[in-house]
Symmetry: C2
Subunit: 185 residues, 2 copies
């Protein structure tokens, strides 16, 4: 597996990697414990500051780590990691160390304690922006405070969950920039 | 363009068509006026009842129609409609009838007044479930009350916006059902 080299990425453009609806791996850390969960229910909510909302079920082992630390990292895997994506989703961090078990490499983040996954081409460090929607909807509203994206990856082959065990893999890219009104890009 | 034949689709499975993050066309109706807008910031929020959240900017002409009627239809286009997707996003319903202008066909919905777009392979009729997050986040929480999906479309080539005028088109499908724990499907 590739451990990508990354550079800083502008926070106002994180939609380029999240708006398409990829399955992501959410990492967390609390009191010396780290964990990873697979997550697919999320959306961009604002450009600047970059807000990102996601649903986290309270029964997930990661929920307590994320809820207590009020931090996480959103890591975006590509198709090479599909077995890890499924295995992470199948298992509970209460029983195993998912980094060791699934050959994923933790790297320190800059602004949060949750680790980056080196094998994911993009990593977004997040701090909790609003906790008011957690109780009713399990909806965490995050501010993305630091973004790392691999410079070598132009059109990432991200995974998009269709339910029933099926993933759609990102296909070709159409560049229709010339058809857009500039303010709508 | 294809005007798809559709059948009823189970509401608890609408995630199969929305969780992957497609660009959608939102239709609305209010006091005899209808409109269409292009929208990409959305997420599944609950299985049953099927809840779906989306961000709608108050400056959009559709905002008033949607806000007043408390209804909409989420129509999912495929790559054949990419020119319409861009054109709808470029224009304002205050000036033109987007159905006529862009050769899209309105069909009556069953439970809401907003029309279905026949050329979209899937249509989800929505009623407003929670208006409390609109003021702060522009976030409409919808209950999907009726779903129509084309039976002929197995792996829809949906459009996924990457920003900067680029769309990712849905690629191949991987069926990893055998690797999933049944309760995680």
């Amino acid at each position: 597996m590739t451990a990508f080299r990354k550079s800083d990425f502008p926070l106002s453009e994180v939609r380029q990697h999240l708006e398409t609806g990829p399955i992501v791996l959410v990492t967390s850390a609390w009191q010396g414990e780290t964990n990873i969960m697979t997550m697919g229910w999320h959306m961009m909510m604002q450009f600047s500051p970059a807000l990102f909302g996601c649903y986290i079920w309270s029964a997930n082992h990661s929920y307590e780590l994320i809820h207590n630390s009020q931090q996480c990292v959103i890591n975006v895997p590509t198709v090479e990691l599909v077995d890890q994506v499924v295995a992470v989703g199948n298992s509970s961090g209460g029983a195993i160390d998912k980094f060791a078990q699934f050959d994923l490499t933790a790297a320190p983040a800059e602004q949060v304690k949750a680790p980056l996954i080196k094998e994911c081409y993009a990593n977004f460090e997040c701090k909790l922006f609003d906790s008011n929607l957690i109780r009713e909807y399990g909806l965490f509203v995050w501010e993305v405070v630091k973004a790392h994206v691999a410079t070598s990856v132009k059109n990432p082959k991200t995974l998009h969950y269709r339910g029933q065990g099926k993933f759609m893999v990102a296909g070709e890219t159409l560049d229709l920039r010339d058809q857009f009104r500039p303010q709508n890009l």
